[in-house]
């Protein structure tokens, strides 16, 4: 373990404020509240100036003072700095003046925003002396842990429900991770994973490493701000599973304001869910502080968390920033995926469809005024959820190797006039 803590100060309980040493631990011993990394912002302000930033490589680690590692990052050093695309054609579809797409569908190396959180968790795990890392995941997280662990020479364990589709398992097996399928109900599998995480001295990325892991999401906010020339967006639409990404994007914006890197233009953060798993947006609509757990039933598998750990905090952020929450059903998700693909040439997984579809609803209901500007967080790649769109995007036309047949087809499509 390295002696210096870099720019970190302590782990701090989000409920009672008690502080803990910067170890692999995640809940407050007093009230079991979640722990969060606290920083020395005075020190960061001196080090992270715009002039210093201008000289750094374009990865998420250019903001390393605000990420929870003591020294230089060692895992996933090339993650992040994905494109922020001005999406004029999509803006028309949404009915809003200006739209931008933050495209983490092309994040490196495993094509989802999870590479951000995983590279932070594994870099910190190495600093703390761990040699084995683990996670329980049905998709993006598992892929990212397996790939990043492989490149860092760490041993990786991936726990999955035994009935997971083969395609999703291959994406972790290929990197040499030890994949363990657990038979049983979701709740039992979940509790066993918590028990394993507690018992073995491993870095379980989303359990004992969670305070560090979750901080990685903030990098998406820093990048958006810098790519907009240090102006914070009026509106940001974020997909929610546990709600962690949304709370961290908000934290990221607030930190930039605190450091004087961006002006406080009161950025609004909105949360998007799939109707088939919408505990947070349901609570928002009913004006409740607490969500009710649900059993997920949606094509947006990467957002299917029925008891969101950060749901309470996500609701608070939306309330504080004047943001709203809404949800879209499976058909609306597919329609939004097609709109993003056809308007901008970006193929996102179902989670991105949730973001884009919900944004359209928020514009229609006036929660995002039509004259405003919005950033959409597209967090995963469409190639990972091909089954969701299969049979919904049309079929290729078939013809014989005959020019006449091709010309007939063109005529039918109205591309050429008949003579």
């Amino acid at each position: 373990m390295s002696k210096s803590a870099g720019f970190m100060r302590a782990l701090k309980c989000r409920e009672c404020g008690r502080e803990y040493p910067l170890e692999a631990t995640h809940v407050c011993e007093f009230d079991f509240g979640p722990l969060e990394v606290a920083y020395d912002y005075g020190k960061i302000k001196k080090s992270m100036t715009k002039a210093a930033l201008a000289k750094r490589p374009q990865t998420m680690w250019r903001f390393r003072e605000l990420l929870p590692v003591a020294g230089e990052p060692t895992v996933g050093t090339r993650v992040g700095y994905t494109p922020l695309v001005k999406a004029d054609r999509l803006a028309k579809w949404l009915g809003v003046r200006e739209a931008w797409v933050k495209n983490d569908a092309v994040n490196y190396p495993t094509l989802s925003f999870k590479d951000r959180v995983v590279s932070v968790a594994l870099s910190r795990a190495k600093e703390l002396g761990f040699e084995t890392v683990a996670c329980a995941s049905t998709g993006n997280l598992a892929n990212s842990v397996a790939a990043n662990a492989a490149s860092a020479g760490l041993d990786a364990f991936v726990f999955i429900p035994a009935d997971l589709e083969e395609g999703k398992i291959l994406n972790s097996l290929v990197y040499g991770a030890r994949v363990v399928g657990i038979r049983g109900h979701y709740d039992e599998v979940n509790r066993l994973c918590a028990e394993i995480a507690g018992k073995y001295g491993w870095a379980f990325v989303n359990v004992n490493m969670r305070p560090y892991y979750a901080e990685g999401s903030k990098s998406m906010a820093y990048e958006i701000a810098e790519q907009l020339n240090w102006k914070l967006p009026q509106h940001t639409v974020v997909p929610m599973a546990s709600g962690s990404l949304l709370t961290k994007i908000h934290k990221g914006y607030q930190e930039l304001i605190q450091l004087g890197l961006a002006k406080d233009s009161k950025p609004t953060v909105h949360g998007a869910q799939a109707t088939g798993c919408s505990p947070i947006s349901a609570a928002y609509k009913q004006g409740m502080d607490f969500f009710k757990p649900v059993k997920p039933d949606t094509i947006a598998k990467s957002l299917a968390i029925g008891t969101p750990a950060d749901g309470f905090y996500a609701l608070k952020v939306m309330k504080e920033t004047g943001g709203a929450s809404d949800d879209v059903n499976d058909d609306e998700i597919r329609e939004a995926m097609s709109a993003l693909a056809e308007c901008e040439g970006i193929f996102t997984e179902t989670a991105g469809g949730v973001t884009v579809g919900t944004a359209k609803k928020l514009v229609a209901s006036g929660k995002i005024p039509a004259e405003d500007s919005v950033v959409l967080c597209v967090t995963g790649n469409g190639l990972k959820t091909l089954d969701a769109v299969q049979g919904h995007v049309g079929k290729p036309a078939g013809i014989k190797p005959s020019l006449r047949e091709f010309e007939e087809l063109m005529e039918k499509d109205g591309k050429v006039k008949s003579k």
Partner: protein, 97 residues
């Protein structure tokens, strides 16, 4: 005999193994007014320790520590689930997507 010794060791381990479970219990409206935690402590020899709670007429949330023999803790959790209480580890969603 080696086999006998081994069996004895196994039996000993089974009775001695203690366990602490840290859980979030979520009560649906119909269970909110019932003394479920008390009932649990009457039925199973486990130590119950409430660390946080929030109760509205919509939902009851209780953060509970259960301490006892591994077998008893496991039975207590199963009993809670059968009652209709949702039982999550304190980490809630260990399985992410």
């Amino acid at each position: 005999m080696a086999a006998k010794k081994k069996a004895a060791r196994k039996a000993k381990r089974k009775t001695k193994a203690r366990k602490t479970a840290r859980l979030w219990l979520m009560f649906p409206p119909k269970l909110i007014t019932q003394p479920v935690v008390w009932e649990l402590s009457q039925k199973f020899p486990v130590i119950t320790n409430v660390r946080q709670a929030s109760v509205t007429d919509e939902i009851g949330l209780v953060c509970l520590e259960l301490d006892g023999l591994a077998d008893d803790v496991k039975k207590a959790i199963t009993w809670l689930g059968r009652k209709g209480v949702s039982v999550e580890p304190v980490e809630i969603n260990v399985i992410e997507s």
